[in-house]
């Protein structure tokens, strides 16, 4: 009698900016789409985010950043995920990430980047369609 797997998502705010409206809107939208959303709160280090993802056994991580520090923090997060053997977790990002950085971020293993103007429906659809196969 399997109760069915719920999609667990970690919404995390790495770095020092405190603009969390976007993160909360996305968290709420994913919640309303039937997912279990864990929110870290503001000003998280890469270590905190990866350790939280591990303990909470999430399927998806959404990173929200508006400070411009993505080029420092995202490589660190992706590196730690790899180190912990969490390569089967799907990572997407949102916030302010300049167009010219997008391909570099995707090379790190970040699956998609959602900039300003993205609708919550797009994010929900993307998460649902790109769920990783995890054991």
């Amino acid at each position: 009698m399997q109760d069915g797997r719920k999609i667990r998502v970690l919404i995390a705010k790495p770095g020092l900016d405190s603009h969390d409206r976007g993160a909360k809107v996305v968290a709420r939208a994913l919640r309303d789409a039937g997912m279990e959303v864990i929110y870290t709160g503001l000003r998280q280090t890469a270590e905190q985010i990866v350790e939280t993802a591990l303990q909470e056994d999430v399927d998806v991580i959404g990173l929200s950043i508006l400070s411009g520090a993505h080029k420092t923090l995202f490589p660190r997060i992706m590196g730690l995920l790899k180190k912990q053997g969490l390569t089967d977790v799907m990572v997407f990002a949102g916030g302010i990430i300049p167009e010219e950085d997008v391909s570099e971020m995707k090379r790190l293993g970040i699956k998609e980047i959602f900039g300003p103007g993205t609708t919550t429906e797009e994010i929900i659809r993307y998460v649902t369609d790109n769920l990783p196969k995890r054991d």
Partner: protein
């Protein structure tokens, strides 16, 4: 070694990733869940399992962060299970208790897991009890279970924890609230949080007065403590009482045995209930009676309660 055996071994060695996977297995009630619990069960019973309950906004998560720090200072390892509600409409959940505890995220002696109720009633989720067992078997000295913001009758936590802390904050109600049955009856320790606010003394006094009316003889007398979770004021005293209660449970053999018996009894009853209802419902569906009556309900020929009575009476006779 099978995958499940690997996870079990990992749990018993305190490996954090194995703990995470094990909790997911029981939370999703996957096929290997029963074996997993059966294997770790002999390794449980060492941790002090503490339940923390109280109204939403009383300060449970904030207080837990301070409690964990205090236990860590004493060299103890701690597991935390924080439960938040699942939406009855969408099935989704926003698990926000961690926000208050994130500074503990990278402490290797601390493991925090958020769980959604998944529409289980009583203030916790169905898998919370087994998740506590996993953290116990993983060697955590203390396991703290935070219920959803609980009102009056969410008392399922008594089946999980050995020591129950019921939290209040000033301004949530008068002495009439304190006399009510339910959550007020399960407390081993009362905490009035936000003690720096007006009326905190009055709240503590109302609870004291309620306790004095109780005619429970002998045994443990629930203390009423005051804390300010934001600053950590009163937390060392709370830890002292928690330890005292643990000793009380361990020292008094009879009391401990009856506590364990009650807990085992509740678990056994629940397991039986679940299996009986599952078997009955399966049987009814197989016989086609279920759909037949469902159609009659839709046509307003019979109401659901009468239909259920009809079905169950017949099924029990056949069983």
């Amino acid at each position: 070694m099978t995958k499940t055996e690997e996870i079990i071994n990992g749990v018993l060695n305190g490996d954090r990733k194995s703990i995470a996977k094990a909790i997911t297995i029981i939370e999703n009630n996957m096929p290997e869940a029963q074996e997993l619990i059966a294997q770790i069960f002999p390794h449980t019973g060492k941790a002090h399992v503490i339940g923390l309950t109280g109204a939403g906004g009383a300060g449970k998560s904030t207080l837990i962060e301070k409690i964990v720090r205090e236990y860590r200072r004493k060299g103890k390892t701690v597991g935390v299970i924080a439960v938040d509600p699942t939406s009855p409409f969408t099935g989704g959940a926003f698990l926000g208790d961690r926000i208050r505890m994130q500074e503990l995220a990278t402490d290797e002696g601390v493991y925090i897991r958020s769980m959604a109720t998944r529409n289980y009633a009583g203030g916790i989720s169905k898998a919370t009890k087994d998740a506590a067992k996993i953290l116990d078997a993983a060697g955590k000295d203390v396991v703290i279970v935070e219920t959803v913001g609980a009102g009056q009758s969410e008392v399922e936590i008594v089946k999980v924890a050995q020591t129950i802390v019921v939290m209040h904050a000033p301004g949530l109600g008068d002495e009439i609230q304190a006399i009510k049955a339910g959550i007020m009856e399960i407390a081993d320790i009362f905490v009035v949080n936000k003690a720096d606010r007006e009326n905190a003394d009055k709240t503590a006094m109302d609870i004291q007065a309620m306790l004095q009316m109780s005619n429970k003889k002998g045994g443990w007398k629930p203390p009423v403590l005051k804390t300010v979770a934001l600053t950590g004021e009163g937390v060392p005293e709370l830890i002292e009482k928690l330890e005292e209660h643990r000793c009380f449970l361990e020292g008094d053999v009879e009391c401990r045995e009856s506590l364990l018996k009650t807990k085992a009894e509740a678990e056994l009853l629940e397991a039986i209930k679940e299996r009986i209802s599952r078997a009955l419902i399966d049987q009814l569906k197989r016989e086609g009676k279920f759909d037949e009556l469902l159609q009659e309900i839709l046509k307003k020929k019979i109401d659901p309660a009468s239909a259920a009575e009809k079905l169950v009476k017949k099924a029990i006779k056949n069983a």
